[in-house]
Amino acid sequence: MSIVQDIVTEDSRGEPVAAVAKTYLRIEGLSKMFGDFTALRNIDLEIYEGEFVCFLGPSGCGKTTLLRAIAGLDIQSSGRIEQAGQDISALPPAERDFGIVFQSYALFPNLTVAKNVAYGLENRKAPRDKIRARVAELLDLVGLADQGAKYPAQLSGGQQQRVALSRAIATSPGLLLLDEPLSALDAKVRVHLRHEIRALQQRLGVTTVMVTHDQEEALTMADRIVVMNQGVIEQVGPPLEIYRNPATAFVADFIGTMNFAAGTVEGPGQVRLGGVGLVCDTGELDAGTPVTVAIRPEDIDVQDVASGEENAFEAEIGDMEFLGSFFRAELTGEVIDGAGLRADMSINLVRRKGLKEGARVPVKLPRQRIRIYPESALRG
């Protein structure tokens, strides 16, 4: 536990994308209880101005709870939230400054698209033609300029979500909250909308928090990802950082595909995995500590490995799973038998080298790509 926490605190500041990073949203010691159940446990987080942050995690990890606490819809049990320097911890939603988009779109079904978008603009003593111009501008922004007179039910899911988005940004809020906005859409529409939302956010420069359980979504859209599990933050960082250097076994397992194998620390920078001795970063772990060795299938080198190289050994190709543009092959053989390592091999490589099940190939686990976690950290 202590190591995990160390890694978290070390990484949790992450790298802000903007050159001049100004904290816009500050969350301190935030906890939320539902009866005896702790949904959020002592969350600390800073979100910078203009940043796109994704809360990523499995269902029930607390990401939506955190979003709703930021919105004031379900106020936290304890802890502090500061937005633009103002303490908003106890404020009701109407006194906070945010726009929100839900998975269900929550468009008012009896109002036209234009009326939906104008909903937050009315009642503010703005002249009517100004509202109309703003609505037209917003609809144009999301590519629905000619759909204003329609009712939400007459639009496709993707279009409805765009309407919801333009309604949320109509009042130019300082913070945009997106609660699984793409989950109800078809796969293709989803991919398309990802880019649109991201582009729109960058154009407007609005600080945005999006909740998602889809790692691909988070990796493609976010400036920084907040990986959550069981009410705590596991890691905060830019997508590449999270993918390359998962701080915990949970993050490693949740994002992308990861091989996990049981090993033992043999000494500083030395780990034994089955019949192989590996050179890698072991941190401050003592010799004899049982650990979990992790490496991504695409990081295992199968190409042009010379024997005698560091972390290289010979393996036999087991079951080959065809996954479209590549194969994911099980690696067996006396040295690593039982470890269940899988390596990705491109179609090209397989064809060129004539690889097939039962073939013996030299493989290498590059030392920078190997991650070591205390054994107990994986799946309880």
Partner: protein
């Protein structure tokens, strides 16, 4: 994971927005309305039921002066027992009970020169009175013979279970419990069986005219429960229409034997007056209620279960017993308890056709209206509350399970044509349809002929309500006013209340409490509610005493009486709305009333119309609660039916009953037209 749940930092107290305050305030206001119009009257009734008026002769003493000075002190209790004027165990009376002081002196003569004096030994509220003035102090008061004859002993007020003891030691009273239970049980079995068959035909066959049958089956909702009783009197009463028709068809000789059977029945003049009549009338008016519930239960059947059963080659009866019935079991149980509750609390049917067969609801009426014994009325009310509460509780528990079934993702079942089966179902539904329409037809026929069975010529004399007891055409006008007021105010109140509980933020205790209050009216029988209103609102000490005997109290009573079903309809509609609407409008800084007015109400318009029509129809037909509360100025059509029937003007009663039917039917048709119009015009968004 970390093992310790250490939550640092002080707990956050969410700040309430102006909206939150406004919503909570409104909710508390509506909650208070329910407390004042339901909880407090019920409390007043409960207190009344344990009020005992009993003579307290032990505290009364006499002295007599026959010219030789005052004689020895005579205790009224001792003397009374000696003389047999009263017994120690039989002192309970009503608030109006009186004993003449002279009864303690058998040789009393008001012409004699003898002087009497009397005193209370305890300054209680019992004591004695003379010329309407009560004396409660404990000094001797002297009277001449002439005045002494005007002295009476008053009962004192105490509390205890005496009224209940009196109730349960009087077989004439408590036998009603068994009568009520028997009637309710038999009616429940019959109605649920008939309604199940009907619902089965509508959902599991491909018979023709389903729409028409569905409409016909709903007809009884539109008439007061008094009406089937009236029709039964015409059909099977002393001048049985059925026998007249048979005579006409078969000749007098052939049916002469049947006359004897009818007229010398076990329960009074004819068999139909009594349990048989009550059961038939109850089945008539509870049928649509049971049908709606069972149809819902059957309609949610999952086609995949049937396909699986057929694929496993289960024979039809086995499918029925293993798939259909278990799927509908909650619906059946729920329907049974609803029917049971309706019958046991119903007043109309047994009043008209019960004859000498006493049931609880009629007992309340008799105690209060007939004998002015309000305490005993309250006792019977409490007794009636018990089965009603049990039925209500079980129904609520079952309904919850039914909802859980509904949410399961099922493929709707589509029945396949099956000629013989469809025809059988058509025949069955036709029979039920004939029964329902026949009841109405008989009433209409009776209303437009001169004098059954002697003068069968057409006449509208029976519609000349103004020359009869009951309130005349004004009563009909009052009923329509009551219906409109109830629909308008009731719908507004109920929908707003449901909105606030469903969509409010936080305030969990308040909302739970409100939900409980909103469910209560369904458990309270109308007769009980009406009587409770007398106790509560007719009390001069009550600041709301002013609404007693006005239209306002009728509206309040009717809204409260039918609150629960309306509330549930509103809640169901509100639950179907996206829960995030409120979150979005808060983020857009819009006050709740704006979203309520621009989104919630328009989207829920069909449900709002449903609630208003429900309230209107029930205000038109209800008798039970308002029968205690109307005044000469606010007589109602449904009560007029009752009173005209009571006075022997059965044909005009039928005519008025049919007026109620036509009014409700018209409103219903208007309602469906308006709903359809609204859906196509203002609710264009529903269409793709």
């Amino acid at each position: 994971m970390a093992s310790v749940a250490q939550i640092p930092g002080a707990a956050i107290r969410p700040k309430l927005s102006r909206d939150d305050w406004a919503m909570r305030g409104l909710m508390v206001a509506i909650g208070l309305y329910l407390i004042i119009t339901l909880a407090l009257p019920l409390y007043a009734m409960m207190s009344k039921s344990i009020e005992i008026y009993a003579f307290q002769p032990a505290n009364v003493e006499f002295q007599v002066d026959e010219g030789q000075g005052w004689g020895p002190t005579i205790n009224a209790l001792t003397r009374g027992e000696e003389l047999g004027v009263l017994t120690r165990d039989d002192l309970v009376t009503t608030s109006d009970g009186r004993i003449q002081a002279t009864r303690f002196f058998p040789d009393f003569s008001f012409l004699s020169e003898t002087r009497y004096r009397i005193r209370n030994t305890e300054p209680t509220d019992g004591g004695f009175m003379i010329r309407g003035l009560q004396v409660t102090h404990d000094d001797w008061v002297e009277y001449s013979s002439g005045d002494f004859r005007r002295v009476t002993l008053r009962p004192g007020l105490s509390t205890g279970l005496g009224n209940y003891l009196a109730y349960f030691s009087n077989p004439a009273l408590f036998s009603s419990i068994f009568n009520s239970l028997t009637i309710a049980l038999i009616s429940t079995v019959v109605t649920v069986t008939l309604a199940f068959g009907f619902a089965y035909a509508l959902t599991r066959s491909q018979m023709r005219f389903k729409g028409a049958f569905k409409t016909i089956a709903m007809v009884p909702i539109l008439v007061p429960s008094l009406l089937p009783g009236i029709a039964l009197i015409y059909l099977f009463g002393k001048q049985s229409l059925v026998l007249k028709v048979l005579e006409w068809m078969l000749g007098e000789e052939a049916v002469a034997g049947l006359w004897q059977g009818l007229i010398n029945g076990t329960y009074g003049p004819t068999e139909i007056y009594g349990p048989i009549g009550i059961v038939i009338a109850s089945v008539f008016f509870t049928f649509p209620h049971a049908l709606l519930i069972i149809m819902t239960a059957l309609a949610i059947a999952d086609a995949r279960l049937y396909e699986a059963a057929v694929a496993l080659r289960a024979p039809r009866p086995r499918i029925f017993w293993t798939v259909t019935l278990p799927g509908a079991r909650y619906g059946l149980i729920s329907a049974a308890f609803v029917v049971f509750n309706l019958v046991i609390t119903d007043f109309g049917a047994p009043k008209v056709i019960g004859g000498q067969f006493n049931v609880l609801a009629v007992d309340i009426y008799k105690q209060v209206i007939g004998q002015q014994n309000f305490q005993m009325g309250a006792v019977v009310s409490v007794v009636l509350l018990i089965p009603a509460l049990i039925a209500f509780t079980v129904d609520r528990m079952v309904q919850r399970k039914q909802v859980a079934l509904l949410s399961a993702r099922a493929v709707p079942y589509e029945p396949k044509p099956n000629r013989p089966f469809d025809r059988l179902m058509l025949a069955y539904c036709s029979l039920v349809g004939v029964f329902i329409l026949g009841i109405l037809a008989v009433c209409q026929y009776a209303a437009v002929i001169k004098f059954w069975p002697y003068d069968l010529s057409f006449s509208l004399n029976n519609y000349n309500f103004d020359v009869m007891d009951g309130g005349g055409w004004a009563a009909y006008g009052n009923s329509i006013r009551l219906g409109l007021y109830t629909a308008v105010f009731g719908t507004g109140l109920v929908f707003l209340g449901a909105y606030l509980t469903e969509k409010g933020r936080g305030f969990t205790y308040g909302r739970t409490g409100f939900q409980f209050l909103a469910m209560m009216p369904m458990a309270i029988p109308g007769m009980v509610l009406g009587l409770a209103y007398i106790f509560f609102f007719n009390n001069p000490a009550n600041p709301l005493n002013g609404i007693y005997a006005t239209m306002a109290i009728l509206v309040v009573c009717t809204v409260t009486h039918f609150y629960t079903v309306s509330h549930l309809t509103a809640v169901t509609a509100l639950k179907q709305m996206d829960p995030e609407f409120e979150a979005v409008s808060q983020s857009l800084k819009q006050p709740f009333y704006r979203t309520f007015g621009r989104v919630t109400v328009p989207v829920c318009t069909p449900a709002i119309l449903d609630i208003s029509i429900y309230l209107f129809v029930n205000a038109m037909t209800t008798v039970s609660a308002v029968v205690f509360l109307y005044s000469p100025d606010t007589a109602l059509a449904s009560v007029a039916v009752l009173n005209m029937d009571d006075a022997g003007d059965v044909a005009p009663a039928a005519a008025m009953g049919m007026m109620i039917f036509y009014t409700n039917a018209t409103v219903r048709i208007l309602h469906s037209l308006v709903t359809r119009g609204l859906l196509t015009r203002t609710q264009a968004w529903r269409m793709r």
